[in-house]
């Protein structure tokens, strides 16, 4: 008890100003916690099948909306009987990520390669089907968290290699390659994502020969990936700049060609340096997937707000509940990513001190 008092005197009430700040903070915390608790728990409705069940608690969350619609929130309109395919994809992804994040696993490199090559292909086969006895599920039936994750993962898988190429291009000695890389990067970084998505979702066929067209989700994926690649390129360029000139020279003097020295010497070091930036780009990408909602693709946020208009659930509490739920899901993903990146950063900075 005494130690608590001592601690708080040192950390909270050291000076008069400090004490005022502490009291203010405690008040703030109290108000926030009280508000959240009463809304999410005390005044909330928990059971029911339509809006009537929430009418009794006008000042609280309407959780039955979430529980009743959970299946759609996760799978969209993916046929019920086929949802096991989505589950397999989720499970494989989680397993792979788990392996990557476990410290003891020694075959991480192999896992990473599999995750970046085989996993996307497998995911595509499983999700869209059409062969191997799997029934074909059109992408406009995909929805919810499934679409959010598909967009995010595709963006990540594509933007990393593309970003590396662009970053190398931007530092190339060949002026035209450099100019074209800069042009590409600055273009995608300069325009808002929603104009890009708009172009991809409704205008792209206008630029292609008549009759040539491809899937709407795929076009969105391309838009998001290009956008993310440009940001990724800038992050990786930062990493490349951090590699001392001597490394390039040593590689050259050993007779390594440009691509070999990049692959074996420069990139392995530059990517490690850029991990925080890369993960931040991933987080940004993940958050940006919500924008596809504006062009009519039902990602998690899109499908949640779509269900606000269900006549069975039109009630003032429903939208707020929906947004809070969506926020919670996104927050958990993003926070987990940033937390993981911080721990990786810490680990590398520890080994860095050995140098």
């Amino acid at each position: 008890m005494r130690s608590i008092l001592k601690w708080s005197r040192e950390n909270l009430f050291a000076t008069r100003m400090n004490a005022v700040m502490s009291v203010l903070s405690i008040w703030l915390v109290y108000v926030a916690i009280e508000g959240v608790f009463s809304w999410a728990l005390i005044n909330a409705s928990f059971i029911g099948t339509d809006k009537a069940s929430c009418a009794a608690n006008p000042h609280g969350a309407c959780w039955p909306f979430v529980t009743a619609k959970l299946n759609q929130f996760v799978y969209g309109n993916y046929p019920m009987g086929e949802q096991w395919r989505v589950n397999i994809v989720f499970a494989l992804g989680a397993f792979g990520l788990g392996l990557l994040m476990t410290k003891r696993v020694s075959f991480k490199k192999e896992v990473a390669v599999l995750m970046l090559t085989v996993y996307p292909v497998l995911t595509f086969i499983l999700l869209s089907g059409g062969f191997l006895g799997l029934s074909y599920v059109e992408t406009n039936q995909w929805g919810g968290l499934l679409v959010t994750l598909v967009i995010a993962v595709t963006g990540i898988v594509v933007s990393l290699p593309l970003g590396i190429l662009l970053a190398l291009g931007r530092r190339s000695e060949l002026p035209i390659i450099r100019i074209m890389s800069i042009g590409f990067i600055e273009f995608w970084r300069g325009v808002p994502l929603i104009t890009v998505l708009f172009m991809a979702s409704v205008m792209l066929p206008l630029f292609l020969p008549e009759g040539m067209n491809f899937d709407a989700l795929l076009r969105c994926l391309i838009g998001v990936s290009m956008f993310a690649s440009a940001y990724m390129a800038e992050v990786i360029r930062g990493g490349l700049q951090a590699i001392p000139k001597g490394q390039y020279e040593a590689a050259k003097s050993l007779g390594l060609s440009y691509w070999k020295s990049m692959r074996l010497i420069i990139l392995p070091q530059a990517l490690v340096v850029s991990i925080p930036g890369i993960v931040n780009t991933f987080i940004g990408l993940f958050k940006d997937t919500t924008l596809v909602m504006i062009v009519g693709i039902f990602d998690l946020l899109g499908i949640i707000s779509f269900h606000f208009t269900d006549p069975n659930w039109t009630s003032p509490q429903v939208p707020i509940t929906g947004f809070v739920f969506a926020g919670l899901v996104f927050w958990v993903f993003c926070f987990a990513m940033s937390h993981y990146s911080k721990s990786v950063e810490r680990r590398f900075s520890v080994t860095g001190e050995n140098k």
């Binding site: 903070s25 600055e186 970084r189 104009t195 919500t290 939208p319 707020i320 993003c334």
Partner: protein, 387 residues
């Protein structure tokens, strides 16, 4: 063929060939896309060209900083949208910077509670998609705030309801604009006079009275004008007329929701930038400042912050740019900024997607390139100072 091979064997030759191929490929791609587009548009007989900018829009929008109505042209609409983007961006940048610096410095506070609270703020707002935040604030505003007839009121001058926030304002009568311009000019002059005063102080070590004289002069001029020609302004107070409040300065809930979301979201990033910037300034600097006997706040203001600013400003600018680009998410809540009003409504009414998207993207691209350009100049200057 032989010359190609001999070119290929030398490095310069290879570089040349590769680059020529790239250019050819790029130009080919552009040509192909343009060709397709032109063919597609021509076949369907879609109107093309920028002539539509002169046409009347035929629709109204609910926030305009300059005169606009149904009979205005699309050109005017573009300007209105752009100004709406600008106002929300400028205010957003202001509040985001304010909150961001406060939170960023709070994270470095000795006070455990304050720093944890700031940490919590950053982690919550940074990890939530902005679109959710915008929609959340908007729904909250229009669901929770009362109908105009039951507005929250403060002394019959300030009103808050689900149609917006209403503040007292003024209208200029004849001559009012001249006075406003004069005051603006006076402000610009203030900047130069105070710089002059500072220079003099550095040279002579004496406090100069330039600014005081300047100020007194200004007040006398203003008082003189007002006493001769009267006050060219009249108060314009919001009042409930019919369905809504009219008069005064008003902000729609869309604007407020967007501003709040943009500010809070961007502030969480700015806070991290500020924290990193301050931490970046070597601990030795702080110790040196202390050793000279500077109190903490002076050390902070005179030693740490100026140095940290050098680290802070480049990422800060890119956050400003992000904020401006992110304001385009307003399309989701009907705030009439550039993308929503021009690349949305106008596009649909005219059907000229290619031209409109081209204009819209060009504007954002221009802003972005301008910022990069200014940033490069700044970086070059800072780098020089370092040497």
């Amino acid at each position: 063929m032989n010359t190609v091979f001999s070119l290929w064997s030398s490095q310069k030759g290879r570089n040349l060939i590769v680059q020529l191929l790239m250019v050819a490929g790029f130009l080919g791609l552009v040509w192909w896309l343009v060709d397709n587009t032109v063919a597609n548009l021509a076949r369907q007989n879609v109107a093309t060209g920028f002539g539509f900018l002169e046409n009347n829009t035929g629709f109204d929008i609910n926030q305009k900083l300059i005169a606009y109505d149904e009979s205005s042209s699309y050109q005017r609409l573009l300007l209105v949208g752009l100004l709406n983007t600008a106002i929300v961006s400028v205010l957003g940048i202001f509040f985001a910077t304010l909150i961001g610096f406060m939170v960023g410095l709070a994270r470095l506070s000795d006070n455990w509670l304050v720093s944890k609270l700031a940490f919590l703020y950053v982690e919550i707002f940074r990890n939530l998609p902005l679109l959710i935040q915008i929609l959340f604030w908007y729904v909250l505003l229009i669901e929770i705030l009362p109908h105009p007839r039951n507005s929250f009121a403060l002394g019959d001058m300030f009103f808050l309801n689900n149609r917006g926030l209403y503040l007292p304002w003024f209208t200029s009568l004849s001559g009012g604009n001249i006075v406003l311009w004069a005051i603006a000019l006076f402000g610009v002059g203030w900047f130069f006079v105070s710089r002059q005063a500072q220079k003099r102080r550095e040279l002579t070590g004496q406090k100069s009275s330039y600014t005081r004289h300047y100020f007194i002069l200004g007040v006398i001029a203003l008082a003189g004008y007002l006493s001769l020609w009267g006050v060219p302004f009249e108060p314009n107070l919001p009042a409930l007329k019919g369905f809504n409040f009219r008069g005064g300065l008003s902000f729609t809930p869309e604007f407020v929701a967007l501003l709040v979301a943009l500010s809070l979201y961007t502030a969480s990033f700015i806070a991290e930038i500020v924290r990193a910037g301050v931490l970046c300034v070597a601990k030795g600097q702080f110790e040196a400042a202390k050793a000279l006997g500077l109190p903490t706040n002076v050390a902070m203001n005179k030693v740490i912050i100026p140095q940290a600013m050098r680290v802070i400003i480049p990422p800060l600018t890119s956050q400003y740019l992000n904020l401006t680009k992110n304001s385009s998410l307003a399309a989701a809540i009907a705030y009439p900024e550039l993308v929503s009003v021009f690349a949305g409504t106008a596009l649909n009414q005219t059907g000229q997607a290619v031209e409109i998207i081209f204009i819209t993207m060009s504007i954002y691209l221009f802003l972005s390139l301008l910022t990069s350009f200014l940033m490069n100049i700044y970086n070059a200057r800072v780098a020089l100072v370092e040497k």
